[in-house]
């Protein structure tokens, strides 16, 4: 008998669609109103974009293996959001410099993480955790409790509004699709991607086959930092306000999204499509729980239980006997 196997990204996406269809049956769901349903679906997709971009960096470091993880992503998002906010200060022509600064600052922090992990042999978990503390500390000093700035009108138009009034799809979703395509090219169609998966599976064999393991590791962390920086830029473009706790709520969901999308947390196996699907599922569940008007306690328990069920379905590791 042939076993039916569905790849994790497809399974996660199917799950998202089923959940969304079921959510229409809720008392305050969209019912039979198709326009409302479409608007809700678009809104959930739009909300997924930010977590999706931040989780992209997470996907890279997790694929790179050796317990790779980036716990500094949340604070980098906050930092670059604040930087963007301050640099742009309401002027359209400052948007591009702000984007470049966000990417550069993110990449620099990522590079420091990578250096600590690669040269000083600090475990990625605590290295990035410590870096997160340092960045948060820097934010507190630079911020001193209040920042003055403003997002530019062009950012809101590029990120939050639709491309043209005729198509009700916010630009953020289109940016995300293009971004997903780039990530796919990077992971599946470039030598960088090949090497990344190679060091994720086995660093020694990768090194013996001529992969520059040190360079790859540094590159993975730097890129992850830059992507978190890009995430911060997008987040502030959407919300229009900044606060010290802006980025932290994205941190663990970004890891959960990667895991739900079928990427092994031990590295070497995974895809960005999976992360995208995982992001949509997580965002959907969170927003459903919010609309269902449950007390915070029940909401957390349901979220925890759902996450457990999700990872039980396809997050299982190899059995010891094999």
């Amino acid at each position: 008998m042939k076993r039916i196997s569905i790849s994790p990204p497809v399974a996660a996406l199917l799950l998202a669609v089923i959940l969304f269809l079921l959510s229409g049956l809720l008392p305050n769901g969209y019912g039979s109103d198709l326009d409302v349903a479409r608007a809700q679906a678009t809104n959930i997709l739009r909300l997924s974009v930010f977590l999706g971009v931040i989780a992209a960096g997470q996907t890279l470091v997790i694929i790179s293996g050796s317990e790779g993880i980036d716990l500094s992503a949340g604070s980098v998002v906050t930092l670059t959001a604040i930087l963007t906010y301050v640099i742009v200060n309401g002027q359209d022509d400052k948007v591009l410099p702000a984007l470049l600064v966000s990417l550069a600052v993110g990449a620099l922090i990522g590079l420091l993480n990578g250096a600590g992990v690669t040269f000083l042999k600090i475990s990625p978990f605590v290295m990035t955790l410590g870096m997160s503390g340092v960045v948060t500390g820097a934010i507190i000093i630079a911020n001193h409790g209040n920042v003055s700035g403003k997002v530019a009108p062009i950012m809101t138009r590029l990120i939050a509004r639709p491309l043209s009034p005729g198509i009700p799809i916010p630009n953020a979703i289109i940016i995300w699709l293009l971004f997903g395509l780039l990530m796919w090219l990077l992971l599946e169609r470039s030598s960088f991607g090949k090497s990344l998966f190679a060091i994720g599976v086995n660093r020694v064999t990768a090194k013996l086959s001529g992969v520059n393991v040190t360079g790859m590791n540094l590159a993975a962390y730097s890129l992850a930092g830059a992507l978190a920086g890009f995430g911060g830029f997008l987040v502030v473009g959407n919300t229009g306000v900044v606060m010290i706790q802006l980025g932290q709520p994205f941190l663990f969901p970004s890891i959960a999204a990667v895991a739900v999308g079928g990427t092994l947390l031990s590295g070497g196996k995974g895809s960005y499509w999976g992360t995208m699907a995982g992001t949509i599922v997580l965002t959907l569940i969170t927003s459903l729980l919010t609309t269902m008007q449950m007390p915070d306690s029940v909401r957390r328990m349901v979220l925890g239980a759902t996450l457990l069920i999700l990872i039980s379905i396809y997050g299982r590791q190899r059995s010891l006997r094999q």
């Binding site: 317990e67 993880i69 600590g116 040269f119 000083l120 042999k121 600090i122 475990s123 978990f125 605590v126 290295m127 955790l129 410590g130 870096m131 997160s132 503390g133 340092v134 948060t136 500390g137 820097a138 507190i140 000093i141 001193h144 663990f252 890891i255 959960a256 895991a259 092994l264 947390l265 031990s266 007390p295 915070d296 306690s297 029940v298 909401r299 957390r300 328990m301 349901v302 979220l303 925890g304 239980a305 996450l307 457990l308 990872i311 039980s312 997050g315 299982r316 590791q317 190899r318 059995s319 010891l320 006997r321």
Partner: protein, 322 residues
């Protein structure tokens, strides 16, 4: 490549660096706070450190076994809310001890749930305990939605002011824990623990009950988290469902500063105990060094990163020289 003497020392005694750091931080603290070793000061410090020490010991066991437990903070919250709501400010001591047993049982159960999913269903530890941390935190919030309740003042005083032979209660607790660990590490269980953490596949092939061992580490961690919850409840005397949230990552940092490898199989319990005390002492140093409030987070995080980086940096320099 010939290993330097420092490398050999570090790999033979993983807690050596923790000891150096521990002594160094205490000396600095002593300079800034000359009455540090006065009976009252010592006791007031140690009773604050004890909850995180207990939690770090449980975390150390899980990490030695090759896992990680992110749900410990939420278990502390459950214990805290159970004690604060069920015993109450005017409860009798009998009721308190009764619910101390209930709390310990709750901790064991929470740990068993983690262990079941990770050891028997073979889910990935980080994401599983992240999911259960939501489950447990939600449950704690369900028991006590708003901060309040408490335990009788007489029982809180028992924890705060008990000083057998003039030494803080925490000293005796640490002594008991270390002697238990000294015994356990020489038994078969101890050997199995290191084997499972080092290389589970190899351990499995040499007939070590890997699944049972992994399961047991989470149960121990749940139990230690419950003890930590009891200690912090007796310290604060009141209930708050968010009390444990910030402790989790500190316990992991304490374990790593204590010289245990995040990948498992290397280290012990004495190191993490010193690591936990060091973290507390660093906090003390910062408050006694009269650092500007704005700078506190950055200074603390930088000290921790430097402490994490130092062993790696030293062996890097020594390798360059030789």
């Amino acid at each position: 490549m010939k290993r330097s003497r420092w490398d050999v020392l570090m790999s033979r005694y993983p807690a050596l660096f923790a000891l150096i750091l521990f002594v160094l931080s205490i000396i600095i603290n002593f300079i800034l706070q000359p009455n540090m070793f006065a009976k009252e000061t010592l006791n007031s410090n140690m009773r604050v450190f004890l909850p995180i020490i207990l939690m770090s010991v449980g975390q150390a066991i899980v990490i030695l076994g090759g896992g990680i437990d992110i749900s410990v903070g939420s278990i502390v919250s459950i214990v805290n809310t159970v004690l604060a709501t069920r015993v109450g400010l005017d409860g009798s001591p009998e009721k308190m001890w009764q619910f101390v047993f209930v709390s310990l049982f709750a901790g064991l159960m929470a740990g068993a749930i983690n262990g079941f999913f990770i050891a028997y269903l073979r889910l990935q530890p980080i994401i599983t305990t992240y999911a259960t941390s939501f489950l447990y935190a939600g449950f704690a919030l369900f028991i006590l939605p708003n901060p309040g309740g408490g335990i009788p003042a007489t029982i809180a005083a028992l924890y705060r002011d008990t000083k057998p032979l003039g030494l803080p209660l925490a000293f005796y607790v640490i002594a008991i824990i270390l002697s238990i660990w000294l015994y356990i590490s020489s038994t078969r269980y101890g050997k199995f623990l290191f084997a499972v953490g080092g290389k589970p596949e190899a351990a499995y092939e040499t007939a070590v009950p890997v699944t049972l061992m992994q399961f047991s580490t989470y149960v121990i961690s749940g139990f230690m988290a419950a003890l930590s919850g009891i200690a912090i409840t007796m310290l604060s005397g009141s209930g708050n469902a968010e009390i444990g949230g910030s402790m989790t990552l500190n316990s992991i940092t304490a374990v790593v500063i204590g010289g245990n490898a995040m990948s498992g199989g290397i280290g012990g319990v004495a190191g993490p105990v010193m690591g936990a005390i060091t973290l507390g002492v660093i906090q003390n140093i910062i408050s006694f060094a009269h650092i500007d409030t704005w700078w506190e987070t950055l200074v603390k995080a930088t000290i921790i990163v430097v402490a994490l980086a130092a062993p790696g940096a030293i062996s890097l320099i020594r390798r360059r020289r030789s």
